[in-house]
Symmetry: C2
Subunit: 384 residues, 2 copies
């Protein structure tokens, strides 16, 4: 198949920052790309060959979009799966598959999948409503404190809550949900696995994640993780187990806990380029976006090793600022060594909105970590 400067057409469902970064590769390879997104201000709007505005959850919209492409992928999980299934039936190549997406999309089903495939994960129980959950608590099936998760449509800090008292229950929406015990972990880790159509598999190095305590968003992603080789090997093994069980095509980001007993527990996965792999643009031989494109087009996978250590800092909207965005002190961080800001192109900031990220690379991970902290203390995402 000839993808380069040819009539081949790639479709991407979703036009956010992940899609935008996928377009760096489609531009580099001159692959004709069309994007569907509900917003006319989507970061993907330029740099694709065609942009279509439409609802990603609407069957007809997704189906009609998909009928006009040769390979269809997505950068967000909240898309109409029935449409993907019909497209697959009619011969459109959908990567990752509708089946993979079905397994991932509902966090309850995802957990059941891990249990069936003997993939280590935290204990869990699933409830169809807030009443059922309350009933579970009343009968001591669930004990406070616990982690509450909406099984659907959670994204970057929405849909996840730590319940520490009975009062916390009042703030929860009445939706299908899942409860897990609080994990006493040493580290949160992630491994990105790439798998192409032919089944070639490669893993990226283990990364270490630090979360913002309130916003529940990643603050630093550190590659390589500062953990022993044993734990690295263990984390990679578990990630490959998930990959093997899913038989996905494309990037699979596997988020894990390293417990106090050095157990590795899978937290959740995303079958697409992921925040935990953004560092790869500057640090890796092949970044996760190019790797995703290689995988879904069944091209050979690229080298997943790092040239240098990389740390990623999310740029999220500061509290108390809503409106036209200003990146205060951005020129100061650009003066620091090995610092690259990525501005997603959202014109409006609001508290905790993901507006961009900054990568810090250095031969020495400790130095990179120090500069990352300076970056974090210097730049502010505010409004005019």
């Amino acid at each position: 198949m000839n993808y380069f400067s040819s009539n081949f057409k790639l479709g991407i469902l979703g036009g956010g920052q992940l899609g935008k970064m996928l377009l760096y590769t489609t531009r580099k390879f001159d692959i004709y790309t069309t994007v569907l997104d509900p917003s006319t201000e989507a970061p993907c709007k330029i740099a694709c060959n065609e942009f279509h505005q439409g609802d990603l959850m609407d069957f007809d919209t997704v189906y009609n979009f998909g009928k006009n492409v040769d390979v269809l992928t997505f950068e967000i999980e909240h898309v109409n799966v029935e449409a993907l299934e019909k497209l697959e039936d009619e011969g459109v190549k959908v990567y990752p598959s509708a089946k993979t997406l079905r397994t991932i999309q509902n966090k309850g089903i995802q957990k059941i999948f891990y249990a069936h495939h003997k993939i280590p994960t935290a204990l869990f129980s699933i409830y169809m409503s807030l009443e059922e959950l309350t009933h579970g608590i009343d009968n001591d099936v669930v004990t406070i404190p616990f982690v509450w998760k909406s099984t659907q449509f959670g994204y970057d800090g929405t849909g996840v809550k730590i319940v520490r008292t009975l009062d916390d229950l009042h703030s929860l929406p009445n939706v299908e949900c899942m409860c897990e015990p609080l994990i006493d972990f040493k580290n949160e880790l992630a491994v990105i696995v790439a798998r192409n159509v032919s089944g070639e598999v490669k893993t990226y190095p283990v990364v270490e994640m630090e979360f913002h305590p309130e916003a529940n968003q990643v603050e630093y992603v550190i590659c390589p993780a500062r953990i022993s080789e044993d734990i690295q090997a263990k984390a990679k093994k578990v990630a490959l187990q998930v990959s093997e069980a899913l038989q996905h095509v494309g990037i699979l980001a596997v988020e894990m806990f390293q417990t106090q007993d050095d157990e590795i527990l899978v937290n959740e996965v995303a079958p697409r380029p992921h925040n935990s792999g953004h560092y790869s643009i500057e640090a890796s031989y092949t970044d996760q976006f190019e790797q995703h494109i290689r995988a879904i087009l069944n091209l050979p996978l690229g080298n997943t090793n790092s040239k240098v250590a990389g740390i990623m800092v999310n740029l999220v909207g500061a509290e108390n600022y809503t409106g036209d965005v200003v990146y205060e002190n951005i020129e100061k961080i650009m003066q620091m060594e090995g610092v690259t800001p990525h501005i997603y192109g959202k014109k409006q900031t609001r508290p905790f909105r993901k507006m961009g990220h900054v990568t810090i690379v250095n031969k020495d991970v400790a130095k990179a970590r120090k500069i990352a902290e300076e970056v974090k203390q210097t730049i502010n995402v505010i409004s005019k």
Copy 2:
């Protein structure tokens, strides 16, 4: 000045591959960018915010385009300088300046500039026509063999010819030209110098260039050059001398000869991102395109060091093929370690047309060089 997701407008004259690669940075920083190019099939057509079709040599077209931007730059030297001068007079920031472009655009004036600034360069003589040149030969002012160069509009192998016999004169066009003795050189080297509006200056490592003997196009660019530290220092010093004399803003690529006596002679310069710096996308902390944007926006310059060694191979159209391009065996080179193809997006190939380039990175420059040769022997730019 706020450039990021703001109302600031950058204009680029020229929409070819260099402009396309500049757009990776304007997308990454979300800088509003508008491009002017004569072709509706320009590689820049997508990924900019606005695309205008028009003649770059036409005064009104360039002037009207420039009136609507805050900073104006170019990715090709063949633009109307008078329009740039008028725009500067009226307060538009033009970087590099019209003055820099005037000095560079005519190779004769460029050589006179070197002479005035005591910058080492090969001897030369300038002729207003082919008749004058013939007269010079008849009177032994020029001796065969020599290098003939059109003083204007030469680009990638056009406008340069080695004259070995009197017969060779018949194939030359009757234009203003310049003659230089054939230089017996050990190496062709290049140094990229970046200089921002405030005068901050940084040099990239010295690279080594190998030319295709017939097409007169670069075949391999090797970074770092495999030369002694003394010669590296000498080459950088000469490049900085040119930069200081020109007082340019943006990237300046300085091409040089290392003679058999280890003299460094400036061959020619380009005040823009350059083929000899393409390796920097994968190998450098800050690539030349981002650096150009940083420089013309007066942002701090980024680190010019390399993470790894990098080699660049041009992808030029194979002889005997004209038509819809096919990149034969591209999937085979993508299987090799550290290999990234860049496809410029020209739909039609013809012999020796620059269609793309391939970067090979590796911690070991010798390994990279070996893989580069495999790349060259494997991929073919042919037509359907």
